[in-house]
Structures are given as C-alpha cells and as structure tokens.
Subunit: 358 residues, 2 copies
C-alpha cells in the first residue's frame, strides 16, 4: 500500500488516538510526512511477511520531551546518518524502517525518514500506543537486545550506545536527548525481519489509518464512532480546569483536571501524566490505567489532544480502551503496569472496570 | 622502561604538579596503578619511535568532576570494553595506551588500564598538563579527528560518539559522564603511532617522573627544588582562607583565596578554577594564566593540592611555570587562552610577567 496524502491524514488522526496523549503532536508528524511525500513520492507500507528474513528492521522514533519537539524539528538527515552507521556497524542491509511507537508524532516521523531514504515502512510498531520510556517496547519482552542504539540530531552528531540493560538505555539516551537540546532521533532494538514477525506489535499502522477513517467518516458524534472502532469507554465529558505541566529530565510531567459537563456535571476527573496519560482517577476511584490507552479528545471533532497541548478551558472527552494483549502479559505488566510507574495498585483491564456500562 | 612501584610513586607526585590542580587526585590514580602492578606486574613505558607506524594509540582518561572521582572508582573493566569496541569498529590493532592528560589522576589511570590489558603505555600525552575540556588536546591542534570517541563505565555501558565537532564532543561526553553518575572512562582522538609522533605532547610521563624525583631527592626546601626543575615562579606563600567550590554540569568550579604569610604577609591571591586553576590574580593584577600551569603546593612537602582537596587553613605555596610550547602557538591559544575561558585579557607567558624576579 502506498501512503498518499489522504491516508497520511487519516493515519495522523489515528496516531493521535493511539498516543494516549504522548508520542508528540501528530500534527508535527503529519507536516513532516506530507513534506516528504511532496519531495520523494509516497512511502510503501509493507507487511513483515513480504520482506527477506535476514535483513534488518530499524525501529525509529524521537526521544525527548514532546513539548520540545513542537518547536525543534528534524532536518531529514538524522535517519540517513543512523542507517549508514547501522549498516557499517552490523555489516547488514536495512530492509525497512518501523515506528518505535505508533502513538503521536512518532507514528509518523518514520514515514518521513523512510520516504527520504527510499525504504519501505513496516505495518507494525513496538508498542501499539505510545509509552514514555524506551525499553517499554514489545521487543524488550521478546528478548531482543536494545543494543546497539544509534542516535542522531540535526547537526550530524551520531552516538552508538551499548547499554548495560534497558534501564541504562533509557537513562543514557534521555541524557543525550537533553544534551542535543531536548530531542533526538533514535533507533534501538534493531532486529531481523524474522525476529520482528514475533517481536513487534503488528498491523498498527493499518489500525491507525482505520481509526482515522472512522473519525473521517463518522455520521453524528465522532466520539461514538471512535469508541465503536477501538472498543473504548467514555470516562468523562467536560472542560479542562487545571493543567500542571513541567518539562523535567527530558519528560513532560504533571497532571490535569477535567470538570464534567452535561450528563457528567458535578463529576471531576484527574489525569496523571508522564509524556503519556498514565492514570485517570475520580476521587480515589481508578477509572483506567496504563498499559490501557487513555486519550483526551476534542469533544467536537473527536481528535486527540496531546499532553503538551492540554490547556484551560478546552471542551474534552476522556476515553480509555484496551491496549495490545502483549502489555497484559506478565512481561508486559512488569514493564508498564501502574506499579512500574510508581503507583501502589495493580492493573485492571478497562473493560473489567467498566463492565456493564455501554 | 618498566614502571615499578617506586617510579609510579614519583610519577604520581609529578602528575600532581603538572595537573594545575586538576585531572583528579593523583593519590587515587596511584592506588589504582599500584593495585594493577600487584595484579599484573609492571607496565612498560615505550617511546613512540619504538612502535609500528600503522597501529593505534588510544588516548585514555576519566571525564567528569574530580570531586566525584575521589569516591567513584573504576572496576578495571572499563578500558577493556573500550579497546574491544575500538578494534571492532576500526578493524585495527591497538598498540598502546596513552594518557589523554598527564596531569592529576588522569596521568596514572591509563597505567592501571594498560597493566590490566598487557599493553604498553607511551611516553606522551595530549596536554603536558591537565585541562578541563576534552578538545583541549594537542591532537585537536594537529587536526586529528576526535571521532569515534568511546566511553564506558563500571557497569559495562559503552557509548561510541561521532560528534559534529570538538565542542559537541565535550557536550555529549560531559552529559554522558553525568548520566553515569559523574564520571566515565573515555578514549577519543584515536590515532596511528605515526600521527601520534607529531600530534601528541612527547616525553611527559618521563617529565612527571623527573619532577617527582626532584621532590623526592630535594635537599632543603622541596618547593625550591621543584621550581628549578620546572623553571617555575613562586606566586605566593600563604594560607587558604576561603574556598568557594561547587560541582555543576560535570565540572568542579569556583575560586580560592590565599592570604600571604612570612615574606608574603599582607598580600592576597585569588585563584579561579574550572577543574584546574585557570588564573591567579592579586587584586587587578594577573600573576599567571592558562595555558601556563598554576599549581597549589603543600608548603612543607612540595606536593600538589588539587582543586577538589583545597580547604580552609592549608599552608600552601602557589607556583606557576611554562606550559608546553604547543599551547603558546596560535592554535593552542585559540583553545586555551584566558579568552577561551571567558576572560577579557590576553595570555602573557609567566616568565614574561615575572621577568627580573628570581
């Protein structure tokens, strides 16, 4: 499938929804991928089954605070420097790029890079959503090494990181992103096509496009159309009344409060965030948590509002829907359950919390 | 020449003097190199003329705040991980290690690494003293590329940095050292033996040993014996009355004030420092500046007192002596003159400032 402008626009809407508030503003990713389309023609979306077993798949994404990525854009050379180094270091051919995370701008930047390099992009990613930390990918669960991680910036700085483990990958790359000025392009968990077939979350680019099209073609309430597509739940409809957000250590952190309107009048929901929306609380009651996907929508359009763009007065609807099953496995929960983010409660599937509600 | 315990002890005293207050406490370097001597036997000191032209010389040192290096010691594996990666990446054999800077602990740590690896160490370094920033080496002046820079820590993290330029080398490696916990082992400006013959500052390990021996064998005032050996000048004899020191951005920064005693009673000297002593001021008058070497000595023993160990009440003598001529060249001054450190005055050779004084 060729990713034309219409498809990219649908994908951008879907990447926003899958981003759980993070992964960077899809609007930036869309601009970059539309520009690449203009310069290089459409990128090809391929299935992993159609690529040679032994060649490499390069997961790629931006590392850093999404707040910075809104202003600090790529120059297009970053991915080329990375691919060159990877081929030099491994002596193997790169068959295709992949989004490290399909959520947010990171679901789209690799389309730009792939276009500029004349490489296809695979219909898969490492998360099926967005997560704040680099080892939070299905490849980590599958036992694929994060090493070497290759990072670059728009000036031609290239770093090859061989971290002692996934936690050090995160720490070293985050520090580098900060040194670069808050943002870096990074590729890690390089793998063969054969490994990617079981190690990646498959079909997620198509999923994003499908979600975007559901919004595009919604008759009546777009939020309703979206909830049907993703098997989701409406947590609250209301207005943003407080946003406490700061950029610290390379992350956007904070919380937001939404006061209910209309049917939800009198209710109050609190979102806690680290790049992504981590938990949704109503008083003491947990309405949804990582790794399930919590997304804030513009109530009128159904489009996602990412954490760095939340602001006072926005009319929003907060929804939650099930994550990819890989995150509900033992290995997945070890990496991304509420406890992994420092909370003192276990994960409960969103459909279990809201069983009985429509 | 074999570096036995007696020689290492003399060298440690000399490295302290050449350190201009920086490069880390030589006592730590001495402990590490004596330990390596015990485990692996003596390291061989070789002249660059005695090594094969095409093999690699690896400059090596610690990056970070010396204040941290006092407590955070190496485990010995760091250098092995670096040498392995360098040989893998370049496909060339490493002939010998070299101190990136002969000053301070960094003049000795490479002895430890070389001992553990069974490699010789060359009688040369990149500075002939210590400097706070990584591109402040003779190899930068000689046009040798800083890339690839290979860094490691005691956990087995390895980074290969291909910086856009020397300033980015410094920024990225400093950020990595901070992420590692304040300290990293690093090798950069890799070069062939042939390149090192003109690109390095030669004979500086022997020089450190010679300085140490001059102190060891001093009859009467050790400071006098030292001044004769290095063609140095006594700036003040006194007492440390104020130390303003902080660790920030991976550097030890601050200033120290020394009030004169005995013949210097009534005088007051101010040292400004960034890991190393940068300038010595008496009121508005500049008594000595980078790149010349300003060292604080224990007045009784003639041993150097490094910037992280300066404290109230110490009886000290501050001396200054000429740096290697490479730093007084146009390229050298561009990197390390007072102006390069943000001061608004030019370099004047210490022997010119103190002409006429004994």
């Amino acid at each position: 499938m060729l990713l034309d402008a219409d498809t990219l626009r649908a994908q951008a809407r879907g990447c926003g929804i899958l981003g759980a508030g993070g992964g960077g503003s899809p609007a930036m990713g869309l601009l970059a991928s539309l520009r690449a389309l203009e310069l290089h023609g459409p990128t090809t979306l391929v299935d992993l089954d159609d690529l040679p077993d032994d060649e490499l798949v390069l997961p790629m994404g931006m590392v850093g605070a999404p707040t910075v990525a809104v202003e600090k854009i790529a120059n297009g050379g970053e991915a080329r420097w990375i691919v060159e180094r990877v081929e030099e270091v491994t002596g193997r051919k790169v068959a295709a790029l992949m989004s490290s995370e399909i959520g947010g701008a990171n679901g789209l930047f690799p389309m730009e890079f792939a276009g500029a390099l004349g490489l296809p992009i695979v219909d898969a990613d490492g998360m099926g959503r967005a997560f704040p930390e680099m080892p939070m990918v299905s490849m980590e669960i599958a036992g694929i090494s994060p090493s070497p991680c290759v990072m670059s910036d728009e000036r031609g700085n290239v770093l090859i990181v061989h971290p002692a483990d996934g936690a050090w990958l995160e720490r070293l790359c985050r520090a580098t992103a900060v040194a670069f000025g808050g943002r870096a392009v990074s590729s890690e968990y390089l793998m063969s096509v054969a490994e990617a077939r079981t190690g990646a979350v498959r079909g997620t680019v198509s999923l994003a496009i499908r979600i975007g099209r559901a919004l595009d073609h919604a008759e009546g309430d777009p939020v309703e159309a979206l909830l049907r597509e993703v098997n989701g739940f409406r947590l609250i409809e209301g207005k943003v009344v407080d946003v406490d957000r700061r950029v610290t250590g390379g992350f956007t952190r904070g919380s937001a409060q939404i006061d209910g309107l209309r049917a939800d009048s009198g209710r109050q929901l609190r979102l806690e965030l680290q790049n992504e929306n981590l938990v949704a609380l109503e008083g003491e009651r947990v309405l949804a948590t990582v790794p399930d996907i919590i997304t804030v929508l513009d109530t009128q359009t159904g489009d996602a509002v990412s954490t760095e763009l939340l602001r006072y007065g926005q009319r929003v609807t907060v929804i939650a829907f099930p994550c990819d099953p890989v995150w509900r496995s033992e290995g997945g929960l070890r990496l991304t359950s509420p406890r992994a983010f420092g909370y003192d409660f276990d994960f409960r599937p969103v459909e279990e919390i809201h069983r009985g509600r429509a």
